[in-house]
């Protein structure tokens, strides 16, 4: 049941327990218990909303930053990653295989504020060798959802 619950709430976290139980053919109490257990185990980490900020009047820029760092003896990458993710400006931090080490996403109000965060905060952390900042210009698809086009039912209205 876990897998099914996760598949559903990953797409629609607003669905209520009663509805979940109905479409899964399960008891409400079992669904509620499963959800609670998964929250406690840290499998479910939050219920966020996907927002296309582009369509609002709120100014917002997001940057993807490639960060190369020197791993520390005994600690690897974790200490530096922690120093980075503690900044509230930082939205996500991933350890990456390949040409660089950490992929950091940073949200800010303006290009300037993000660049100054990178230059003044991120790049100056001890152990950070280099950064490369990419600003996101347009989001076409996010979390499996296409943002640029709306679903349209083009079927005939009645067919045998």
């Amino acid at each position: 049941m876990r897998e099914q619950i996760l598949a559903i709430i990953e797409k629609n976290s607003r669905i209520n327990i009663k509805e979940l139980a109905v479409i899964l053919g399960a008891e409400e109490i079992d669904v509620a218990n499963e959800l609670k257990a998964m929250e406690e185990e840290g499998i479910i980490c939050g219920y966020h909303t996907m927002i296309d900020w582009e369509k609002t009047s709120i100014e917002k820029v997001t940057a993807l930053i490639e960060v190369r760092i020197t791993p520390q003896r005994g600690k690897g990458y974790d200490n530096i990653a922690e120093r980075i993710y503690k900044y509230p400006d930082v939205n996500s931090v991933y350890l990456i295989s390949g040409g660089y080490d950490l992929l950091v996403t940073v949200d800010g109000k303006t290009l300037k504020s993000v660049s100054s965060f990178v230059n003044e905060k991120l790049a100056t952390i001890e152990g950070v060798l280099s950064t490369a900042t990419h600003f996101i210009l347009k989001k076409y698809k996010d979390h499996g959802t296409i943002l640029t086009k709306k679903y349209e039912d083009t079927r005939e209205k009645v067919t045998p």
């Binding site: 109905v22 209205k157 009645v158």
Partner: protein, 395 residues
Amino acid sequence: MRNPLADKIVDIKPSGIRKFFDIVNEMEDAISLGVGEPDFDTPWHIRDEGIYSLEKGRTFYTSNAGLKELRKEISNYVERTQGVHYDEMHEILVTVGGSEAIDLALRAMINPGEEVLIPQPSYVSYEPCAVLADAVPVIIELKEENEFRLTAQELRDAITDKTKILILPFPNNPTGAIMEKKDLEEIAEIIREKDIFVITDEIYAELSYKEKHVSIISLPGMRERTVYINGFSKAYAMTGWRLGYACAPAQIMEQMVKIHQFAIMCAPTTSQYAAVEALRNGDEDVAQMREAYNQRRRFLMHAFQEMGLRCFEPYGAFYVFPCIKEFGMTSDEFATRLLMEEKVAVVPGTAFGDCGEGFLRISYAYSLDNLKIAMEKISHFVEKLRREAKAKSSC
């Protein structure tokens, strides 16, 4: 001027859905639950393979029976799902949708005046195709109390010495009924005893929500007297590609291929390349769609239960078939009022045979959000009808 028309064709009445369809199309803002095809797009990797085949210039006829590699994949599919082997060289034909296969099978096997048993409610094409093949269609009226399954008794009662073929339309459109192994075993015994043939239309086979779908071809002595029909429309959401297939013993298949060869030549080449990809790498997509349909099915069953609308639990296809007899209206009246007053389109059960009277076909090939809105409207309508009835009875 002489009458340019053939009486046989003129006498066939047009599909019952047509009339209703014209009204629905007039209404811009109607929510439709009347569609008999998946709401999913064809999975991208399958579409991509179709596009790629065009890029490579695969734009020629295929052999009459279809691409050899596709027939091989079909053979593998039937073997892995039903444990029955068909030889891709002589026993498999790729057709323009399952519908063509139905037509071919009837025309290949019927001599004028022989009887074809057609359980109803069922898909609209069996009866006219039987007539076109000069058969005498004999309708078996399936019953709600049997969950619209075909029972041995019903079959036995319908058989005469002219009976040649039984059409077996399960999982069923419009009822969503299935036939399980035990049901099929009882039927198969009579089929063998009476020496008749079966055309089994299993286009919804992958959309079964109980046990895995069992085909009658897997029962002893049935492969040699059955034409097995399946296709890509429902399982892979490929309705517009127009691609189905038939598997049958070589003796029957040889004649089916002959008609196909002269009437059609071959099924669309692009679709055939896409279908190879579907059978090779599409299992995961089918599983995901099946799960989504199943969730909607449960949602609808629950909604009807809450409205107090009687509905047997269907385990196949993507339809539910609730009963509206309590309102004392015909299916047509109910559907028309529902459309006019709540702007929800459903299909009257009578579009699928007279015994569909008192029932509605509701398709759940729609998103849950869509179904939710529609169910609220139907619930509202049902309450209104009950209030009307109460007011009438108290005066």
